[in-house]
Amino acid sequence: MLITTTNVVDGRPVQEYLGVINAQSIIGANIFKDIFAGLRDVFGGRSKTYEKVLEQAKEDALRELAEKAQALGANGILGVDLDFETIGSGGSMLMVIATGTAVRL
């Protein structure tokens, strides 16, 4: 399975387009992470706690996207786009939406 943000893959022409697919992942940065992230907000510096949560949400969305592509018989996803949103009261949760085109290369 090839997952790429580009529209074409060098040397591997698309044989078949299998449709647009998308996957979402919504994840909460638990209360402790919120507290530590809040401290970062006060003292500055990188908030590794939120970065980890974001990374996890992105992984989950891409995994779901790959599963959907595989179910369609695809061996590649082109033009993958990742959107990040905060949702929930006070923006305490993160949503990642992954979109792409399932193809057979």
């Binding site: 399975m1 090839l2 995994r63 599963e67 595989q70 061996n75």
Partner: protein, 355 residues
């Protein structure tokens, strides 16, 4: 998750087909096209596969132990990753890669909860009492007057009895920063209470029950201690403090939860209320002992209160006051070897009150 391209043998001995492979933490999925052109997908649990790296062809070989089917992927990266996932599966949960996170989260959780408990039970009440003790006598008096006015009791005041009770208390000569004002209110409730700032309200029904001047002295010195030790003000601040704390913590909780939390908080404040009542009993008793007034006044007062309030049949933890029997016993305990001298002035005022 990682993804690879592979050659999949649908059955042992068959021609390989091109496939896309996804490796997860517990399973791997192989997507392929069947000879008839339809899509096929198989899921292999990682516990049911054997993975190896073939040096000669530089390929990763995965074999399903049950089906005997095989999958080949280019390079050795896939072999390393699948082995890593397999090893992780076999590890007990506390040795897994993310177990450090678990341990740390658990530690943080207990630390956080411990901190909350400390805040709620010690720091918030302590702060509230500190704040209460900075409230000036004048402010307390204004607060108390506002409370008294809001209760609308002045219409039922027995001014003659109030005058005599004030005279009685003045004769006891109890020093205080507060100017104590006692009001007798005509009502059939057997009770008395103190509001902040020095006002004490005694209901006529309780006054009728009182049979001796030490008993009246006990009642007034108990209520006076509430005033003098700022008990009402402290209670107000403590209640306010814990309400604000709970509000901040559980602000957006549903109604059922907030009712539960409110009631738990009420029970806690009752504990504090009982502590204050005991303090008022003990300090009130000291006032009596210093003036050589018979401490039995307290016991008589408690007996009369008990007769009047069947509510004291409630278990102690639900009551705002300590159990009557307990009150009697600690009063008896603290008043051993008391010297008693009859005070003629108090006696004569008491007789006037009873007329």
């Amino acid at each position: 998750m990682k993804s690879y391209f592979g050659s999949y043998f649908i059955s042992p001995g068959a021609e390989p087909v091109e496939s896309s492979v996804l490796v997860f933490d517990k399973k791997m999925s192989i997507g392929f096209r069947n000879p008839d052109g339809s899509n096929g997908i198989v899921h292999w649990p990682l516990t049911e596969v054997v993975v190896s790296y073939e040096l000669s062809t530089q390929r990763t070989k995965v074999r399903h132990t049950g089906l005997g089917t095989e999958l080949y992927m280019e390079g050795k990266e896939a072999a390393a990753f699948i082995k890593e996932m397999q090893d992780d599966l076999q590890r007990p949960w506390h040795k897994k890669n993310n177990s450090k996170d678990w341990g740390r989260n658990l530690l943080l959780l207990s630390g956080f909860l411990g901190g909350l408990v400390l805040l709620y039970f010690l720091i918030v009440p302590w702060l509230a009492e500190k704040m209460a003790s900075t409230v000036s006598v004048k402010t307390e008096r204004q607060l108390g007057d506002a409370v008294y006015d809001a209760m609308g009791l002045s219409a039922a005041e027995d001014t003659a009895a109030s005058f005599l009770l004030n005279e009685f208390f003045a004769t006891m000569e109890v020093p205080s920063a507060y100017s104590v004002r006692i009001t007798v209110v005509n009502d059939n409730v057997v009770n008395a209470f103190a509001v902040p700032g020095g006002r004490i309200v005694v209901y006529s029904a309780l006054l009728k029950q009182i049979q001796s001047y030490p008993e009246l002295a006990a009642l007034l010195s108990h209520e006076f201690t509430h005033v003098n030790s700022k008990h009402s003000t402290k209670s107000i601040f403590r209640r306010l403090g814990s309400k604000v704390f709970i509000g901040l913590l559980f602000g957006s909780f549903g109604s059922v939860t907030s009712v539960l939390i409110d009631h738990a908080d009420d029970l806690k404040s009752l504990t504090y209320s009982r502590k204050l009542e005991k303090e008022a009993d003990i300090k009130g008793l000291e006032i009596l002992l210093q003036r050589k007034i018979d401490p039995k006044g307290f016991e008589d007062l408690f007996h009369h209160l008990k007769e009047a309030s069947p509510a004291s049949a409630l278990p102690e933890f639900l009551g705002s006051h300590p159990d009557i029997e307990k009150r009697i016993s600690y009063i008896k305990e603290s008043s051993k070897n008391a010297t008693i001298v009859v005070d003629q002035r108090l006696q004569s005022i008491f007789e006037k009150i009873k007329q």
